[in-house]
Amino acid sequence: MQWWCSAQGLAWSWTWRPYVGVWILVAVLVVWYVRLARRSGGVPAGRRWAFAGGVASLWVALDWPLGALAAGYLASVHMVQFLLVALIAPPLLLLSIPEPAWESLTRRPAIAGALERLTRPIVAVIVFNGLVWLTHWPRVVDGLMSYQAGSFLIDMLWILAGFVFWWPVVARVPARARFGYPRKVAYLILATIANTGVFIYLTFSHLPVYATYELAPPIPWISSREDQQAAGLLMKMGGGLVLWTAIGILFGRWYQAEEGSGAPRAEKA
């Protein structure tokens, strides 16, 4: 029995398969959140929903069938998985963290110091884009996806990249008074530009770049070239949709903050 989805070289079948590693990850997150909520004296419904959305995104992305299709059959589904794991789940999970938990982080100097350095916006955008490039490099994908541990590593790198990327935008700590709404918007716009490289590479490479998907047992309704183009377009359009939605929300909050204060100022949290 497999514990994590990886490329198997077997013909695709709609027969359900269990991936215990994904269930353990989900269970660990749920247990962690329940304990966090108890320690925090309860969590508002909005944050609970954010947590549910974040965990559901991870579960759907990593478990059968999406996880299995993404690992060994379709680059386009691999990209959907990336969007869920790196761009959708992390901000929801960060939004779900209750206020007292954020405050407790600031009381631990070592953690606070590490977070301060790692989540500087310029560092975060470089780490995120570096990991995105690395995990979409054909040699890395083809070298890792046929192993459960390799596939797991890519998924964990995506989660890490997502948390690092979204931290400056969503997280309460470390407080960055100068990184207000205008800069957050600019940061996200920069990110939409940065993912263009992978998009261009996948969409406009005439030949399939990933042996994993080119030589996978075929899925009847899509060729390997179409699949790769779909992957590139999904990265651009799907990623753009997520990022521009976030930009829209930030603009809304920025507007509300301006209205509330009556004068331009940086965001507090």
């Binding site: 030949l207 399939p208 080119e214 030589l215 047992p217 075929p218 070239r225």
Partner: protein
């Protein structure tokens, strides 16, 4: 993309004197070069229109890619066919018109002529599909130093009676001078075909063409 000679000829039942040694691809080709090269075999099977197809005569003067497989094949066969078809679409007309792709079914029981035709048409309508009795197909494969196809026990599944057929996974490439020169194992990518097919077209012409004919094996 290299494959060892041992892997290519596993199960091969050709005579030792005829058996060719597969060498690593020479610079310039990504497939595995056959040295010495082989003669194009002389056999006749039935095409998907029900007509007798003389392989040697019907492909004379063309670069010919010959593959043995079956239409229920879940992986190797459709991947080879799809990759070759995709790259053929990229070639210019002159190159493409010098190439023939011939598919011989190793599962004549299920692969009736209409089934083979419909399956090949998914990839390229110009692909030639051939059928014969199991004995005829086995003989042709033996002549090409390929192992005979073997029916394998079916796995439990939704289709009762479904079975798989173990068969040689490589595509044999014959150049226009009628020699088998290169073998393309499973794992050959579109980039490999795109690299090699124009070279195969340009590299070995028919002797009577008298232009750039390379020495045969």
């Amino acid at each position: 993309m290299l494959l060892s000679a041992a892997a290519l000829s596993a199960g091969c039942n050709a005579g030792a004197g005829e058996r060719a040694a597969a060498e690593p691809a020479q610079p310039g080709l990504r497939g595995t070069l056959l040295e010495p090269s082989w003669d194009k075999p002389d056999f006749t099977l039935t095409d998907t229109e029900g007509r007798a197809f003389d392989f040697r005569a019907g492909t004379e003067g063309f670069v010919t890619l010959l593959f043995f497989g079956y239409t229920h094949c879940p992986d190797v066969c459709p991947i080879h066919m799809a990759n070759i078809a995709a790259v053929l679409q990229d070639l210019d007309y002159d190159e493409r018109s010098r190439i023939r792709v011939v598919f011989v079914t190793t599962d004549p029981e299920r692969d009736t002529a209409p089934v083979v035709r419909a399956w090949l048409d998914r990839f390229d309508r110009s692909f030639i599909g051939l059928r014969g009795t199991q004995e005829e197909v086995d003989r042709v494969q033996a002549a090409l130093h390929l192992p005979a196809a073997i029916r394998q026990p079916s796995r439990p599944g939704p289709l009762p009676g479904a079975y798989a057929v173990g068969h040689a996974a490589q595509v044999l490439a014959f150049t226009a001078d009628g020699r088998a020169r290169v073998v393309y194992p499973f794992g050959t990518r579109q980039s490999d075909w795109a690299h090699d097919l124009p070279k195969l077209v340009a590299g070995w012409r028919r002797p009577e063409a008298g232009r750039g004919a390379a020495s045969g094996g």
